[in-house]
């Protein structure tokens, strides 16, 4: 099997593992971070399949906007609410 096939196989394994960890991790913050990483790897998968428009859109919307939305919502449902910015990611 040629090398690009092995790259595709590893990419898909990483996507499946990240998807599992994005749903079944212990802490909610970790789930969101894994989801953002998953979006990034999916961008590479779109590029590998030749869908370059979809890759640009997924990088900006799937990983960027959705990730920011999830982190902002996570900040709102934390148990002790203080004014945190998104750059302050200490877990409670």
């Amino acid at each position: 099997m040629e090398l690009i096939g092995i790259f595709d196989l590893l990419l898909m394994l990483c996507c499946l593992t990240l998807a599992w960890m994005a749903l079944f991790s212990a802490s909610l913050f970790r789930c969101i971070v894994f989801f953002i990483c998953f979006g990034l790897l999916i961008t590479i998968a779109w590029a590998q399949m030749g869908a370059y428009d979809v890759a640009i859109a997924e990088a900006a919307i799937g990983a960027g906007i959705t990730g920011a939305l999830l982190l902002a919502a996570w900040n709102r449902i934390r148990p002790n609410r203080r004014l945190h910015s998104i750059s302050d990611k200490k877990e409670k």
Binding site: M12, L16, A22, L23, G39, G62, L69, I77
Partner: protein, 100 residues
């Protein structure tokens, strides 16, 4: 057994992982994440099937997936707003119970 078959199998597996997470987990935000992962799995299946024969790709599934990504982001924002509303109601209820 080419790469595109593997990609479509990966898309279907992502759909299955998302479905499992949607059924089994109980936190609302995990359910929202599961819905997003189901969406990404379906998009991957669509794009993998668009390139099956020949070198040229079918642009119609690309356009559908582009539309789908934007609508999924908007739907996620709506769902997160509803989750925060539920959370505020639940917290207000707990505070009422504590006061009594």
């Amino acid at each position: 057994m080419n790469t595109l078959l593997f990609y479509s199998i990966t898309g279907v597996s992502l759909f299955a992982i998302g479905l499992l997470g949607l059924i089994v987990t109980s936190h609302i935000m995990r359910k929202i994440l599961s819905l997003n992962i189901i969406g990404v799995g379906i998009f991957m299946l669509l794009i993998a099937l668009a390139k099956q024969n020949g070198e040229s790709t079918d642009p119609l599934p690309h356009a559908m997936v582009l539309t789908g990504i934007v609508i999924a982001a908007a739907g996620t924002a709506l769902a997160l707003n509803l989750m925060i509303r539920l959370h505020d109601i639940k917290r207000a209820n707990m505070r009422n119970l504590d006061d009594r």
